[in-house]
Point group: C2
DNA sequence: TTGTATGCAAAGCGTTTGCAGTGAT
DNA sequence: ATCACTGCAAACGCTTTGCATACAA
């Protein structure tokens, strides 16, 4: 049976409080304010457990290490700030994109990431380098 | 100065012939048909060199290792088959998506990945597991 | 008491780098 | 003859796993 430990609570709390997707290392740092000695392996094991029980979900962005966020945000996409690198939820969706696929292909799902400046990083000094598929918008 | 080696040609040829983004390991396998003894380090070094000279471009998809494709495809996005895992170019774009961002955020760019069945994998047997942001379309 | 959860360290996996030898110029 | 390039193996960063101990039930 699953046991309630200080570590697990601290990890849950960290994700709950963040209100945005966190990297495992960010989870560890946050959780260590409650349980100083915590190890990174415990974070990984608990993230996996929380995923399995559906309490959190995986956030994979192009070229980024996996992040994790609490569930219940409904269908959404993500925005990554080109300055602070943080990731935020986008509670909007372009809708049906089947028309974009090549003929003969069947679209079942899509993933969208917006890039730009978050509220706290407004004046843009330099540009993020993303050599792959890009387009203003 | 840059030198022309059998390895470099083989790597170039592999990417040219593929007509879709390849993983470093796929590049190696393809290139080894021309240069059997080639090592993976040579592939990585040449991919980096080709990137720098602008001959190829990086294709980062969520939760996937980096792929590489020849340049000159213009602005485009990608489609990943949920059956064979291969990635294809999508020569279409949803257009301006600024409206999707939260208030106070500035959108500079976006990245889109479509998931579904490619032409060769049409009858869908099972579903790909993507716990993160998803929506039919 | 029982056995899940933890911390540590080692192992894995993809990628990068140091180094001595190879080969294009 | 140079010196960039190559292959090999070690090093890296992130993630997973084995193992003995700790602690929730």
């Amino acid at each position: 049976m699953e046991r309630s430990t200080r570590q697990r609570s601290a990890i849950r709390d960290a994700l709950q409080a963040a209100q945005r997707p966190l990297l495992p290392q960010e989870v560890l740092t946050a959780a260590q304010t409650q349980v100083p000695g915590m190890g990174i392996a415990t974070v990984y094991r608990n993230l996996k457990a929380l995923l399995d029980e559906g309490a959190i979900q995986l956030v994979s962005l192009p070229g980024e290490n996996p992040r994790y966020e609490t569930r219940g945000h409904g269908h959404h996409h993500h925005f990554q700030c080109t300055a602070c690198e943080r990731v935020f939820d986008v509670h909007a969706c372009p809708g049906d994109l089947s028309r974009l696929a090549p003929a003969g292909f069947t679209v079942e799902d899509h993933e969208l990431t917006l890039y730009g400046r978050c509220r706290e990083c407004q004046p843009p000094p330099a540009r993020r380098q993303r050599p792959s598929s890009s387009r203003p918008g």
